[in-house]
């Protein structure tokens, strides 16, 4: 059977379980996404960016999984909490969606939302070229739940999206849109597992002088199967920072597609990953486009892998013609705690401007035996010493989180989850 046919058949089977959402202000975006999806089919391992991660668990029609009961990550922080249970907004479990300088709406509301109309599916569309991202197109076409956030000023506190899962077979699609107007600033938190299987898209439009902070925790559930996409458009003098802590799960693919079109902006994507067991696969696939001058981008990932766990990093920096003085950097590092664990990295630079500074590096290594011995020689038991060194390695990326209280919270989760990894 020809490859295209395989992809089409997979798509047909997958769509059978999904019902088309009601027509509304998103109708045009959904129709366009459906068309793109129909032309692309679903991904297979033959696709260039799916060689390391088998998408089958994300694309097959039936969902298998387990219900989870995770302690929420950011519970102690003062934030507007919005709860989604099995992918459905749960107003009774959520805070009153009122925050000065911020408009918070539900995608399920279906009213005509003018400002979101120009964004829903639009950033996803832009980010799906030159690399096709059919799972994101599927999301745009079929998502009925999500939040729409418009930020006009300085948000007084973060918005925290909390995912809880009750059903062992929920197949969740969530689509969030965030629009930061000029000079606005907000922090968006995400934690928990949306469903037995999930597909989330986050579209973020960052206007001039605006600042967007995103901090997410995934885990430490063992059965998680999910794909996430962040599509961001970044104007001038703006800041975009996204950090993800991942522990556990079977297949977690986090994609971030950032396009910087304004001068003097900053875009960082970072992640810390704890992987244990041969069923564990976590994949960061990043594409950052520099289309303007004097911008800085960073991709910083650290993964600790043991017992046959697999970590994947596919990171690309594209510097377009005229994007002079670009400062792009990517570094993916892994700590392999045994010989069965593996880290697969595919760093890419594509540069069409002549006055740029771009670098990438990828390292993969075992725990530093000399440091381990030094700690032990001071009386620190081997396991404690190992945990200390692993924590030191992973915590390096937490510098990417600007807010100290949030960084401390993530650090606490990291320590907890490492403890779980140890047992």
């Amino acid at each position: 059977m020809a490859l295209a046919q395989v992809k089409q058949d997979a798509l047909t089977a997958r769509l059978q379980g999904l019902s088309a959402p009601a027509k509304g202000w998103t109708a045009a975006a959904r129709a366009s996404a459906s068309d793109r999806l129909a032309a692309q089919g679903l991904p297979t391992r033959r696709d260039e960016y799916w060689r390391y991660s088998d998408p089958a668990q994300l694309t097959k029609p039936e969902v298998s999984g387990a219900a989870t009961d995770l302690a929420p990550s950011f519970a102690a922080l003062d934030a507007v909490k919005l709860v989604f249970t099995d992918g459905v907004f749960d107003a009774s479990a959520s805070d009153d969606p009122a925050l000065a300088g911020v408009e918070l709406l539900s995608l399920a509301g279906q009213a005509d939302i003018h400002w979101a109309q120009g964004l829903y599916g639009q950033l996803e569309t832009r980010g799906s070229s030159p690399v096709e991202r059919p799972l994101a197109a599927l999301n745009t076409a079929y998502a009925t739940e999500g939040v729409l956030i418009r930020v006009t000023g300085q948000a007084a506190k973060p918005v925290s999206l909390i995912y809880t899962q009750k059903s062992a077979s929920s197949d969740v699609i969530l689509h969030h849109v965030v629009k930061l107007e000029e000079g606005a600033e907000i922090t968006l938190l995400e934690s928990g597992t949306p469903g037995a299987r999930f597909n989330t898209v986050l579209e973020v439009d960052v206007a001039s002088n605006a600042r967007f902070h995103h901090i997410r925790t995934q885990g430490p559930d063992a059965d998680r199967r999910g794909v996430t996409h962040i599509f961001a458009h970044i104007a001038d003098n703006a800041l975009f920072k996204s950090f993800t802590l991942t522990a556990g799960g079977r297949l977690t693919r986090n994609e971030a597609i950032l396009e910087i079109t304004g001068d003097d902006s900053v875009a960082h994507v970072a992640g810390t990953v704890l992987g244990d067991g041969k069923d564990f696969l976590q994949d960061d696939t990043i594409f950052i486009t520099h289309a303007s001058e004097r911008c800085e981008s960073r991709q910083v990932f650290r993964k600790v892998l043991k017992n046959g766990a697999t970590g994947v990093f596919q990171g690309k920096i594209l510097v377009k013609q005229g994007a002079q003085k670009t400062d792009g950097y990517q570094m993916s590092q892994s700590l392999l705690l045994d010989e069965d664990a593996q880290f697969l990295a595919k760093p890419e630079l594509e540069i069409y401007a002549d006055d740029v500074k771009c670098s990438h590096g990828s390292t993969s290594g075992a725990i530093d035996e000399t440091a381990l011995f030094y700690l032990q020689s001071r009386g620190v038991p081997k396991r404690t010493a190992q945990a200390l060194l692993v924590l030191a390695f992973l915590a390096g990326t937490l510098e990417e989180i600007e807010d100290e209280a949030i960084a401390a919270e993530v650090h606490a989760r990291l320590e907890d989850w490492l403890h779980g990894l140890d047992g």
Binding site: F373, Y374, L375, Q376, V380
Partner: protein, 251 residues
């Protein structure tokens, strides 16, 4: 205190024999010095005693207060009271010096069935000891040995020793890389710890350190063996004449 008998050590990965029958006995409260040409096996001896991987003991024994050291994990040896100040202290990025010290102190206390030090008590003690070694607060906050100068690293070793209060201290070239004033500081730090129940094995190339830390016994090591043992005068002899005469005497 420490008793080493007929210790033979080879490299695990290669057929290279480094220690060829070392005998050494250090009584409680004694200070012994080991001198000897480069590559004679001094650091190897200290590593083997501390329990570093990569060496194979083919014969002999080493006991600390009659407990066999060579069968213990490195952390057990530390808890039993052994301390090695490294010739090349290790940098550990991401682990704060303070965290490191507190983890070490409390791990040893726990292993000995003692109560752990509270954060407040620990801080008080460490600040006081750091001050006498002229280690400033900034160095305590930084990751272990990262960006420390050679001399700062050595002073940090002595601080660890002062915090851990071991009974058998091995100092491997703690004087190398120290300026004159720092050497005095370190020697004072060591002397302050001298007591009837605590012994020292000081590995050095220079008589100068031994002016400050007066040894009871001096050993000369060459080619994996102790070839001569004497009083403090032996160190002066080496300082003045080098090793040639001593080595000739053996062959």
């Amino acid at each position: 205190m420490l008793e080493i008998k007929n210790l033979h050590v080879k490299l695990e990965e290669e057929d290279k024999v480094i220690l060829k029958g070392v005998d050494l006995k250090i009584g409680p409260g004694e200070v012994h010095a080991i001198m000897g040409p480069n590559g004679s096996g001094k650091s190897t001896l200290s590593y083997v005693l501390a329990g570093r991987d990569g060496y194979e003991v083919t014969d002999g024994s080493a006991t600390l207060d009659d407990e066999e050291l060579l069968e213990m994990e490195p952390e057990e040896r530390a808890a039993a009271g052994l301390f090695l100040a490294f010739q090349y202290p290790v940098e550990i990025p991401g682990v704060g010096n303070m965290t490191f010290l507190r983890t070490a102190v409390n791990a040893q206390r726990k292993a000995r069935g003692e109560e752990e030090l509270s954060a407040g008590d620990f801080l008080k003690v460490v600040r006081e000891k750091a001050k006498t070694l002229k280690i400033d607060a900034d160095m305590l906050k930084r990751p272990v040995n990262v960006g420390f100068s050679g001399g700062e690293k050595k002073r940090n070793e002595i601080l660890q020793m002062a915090m851990l209060e071991p009974k058998m201290c091995i100092l491997d070239e703690t004087d190398s890389g120290l300026d004159v004033d720092a050497m005095k500081l370190v020697a004072e730090g060591v002397n302050a710890l001298r007591s009837a129940g605590r012994s020292f094995l000081v590995i050095t190339h220079y008589q100068r350190l031994l002016d400050h830390i007066k040894p009871d016994v001096v050993h000369i090591m060459s080619n994996g063996r102790i070839i001569k043992t004497g009083g403090p005068d032996l160190a002066l002899e080496v300082e003045n004449n080098g090793y040639a005469d001593l080595l000739d005497g053996v062959q």
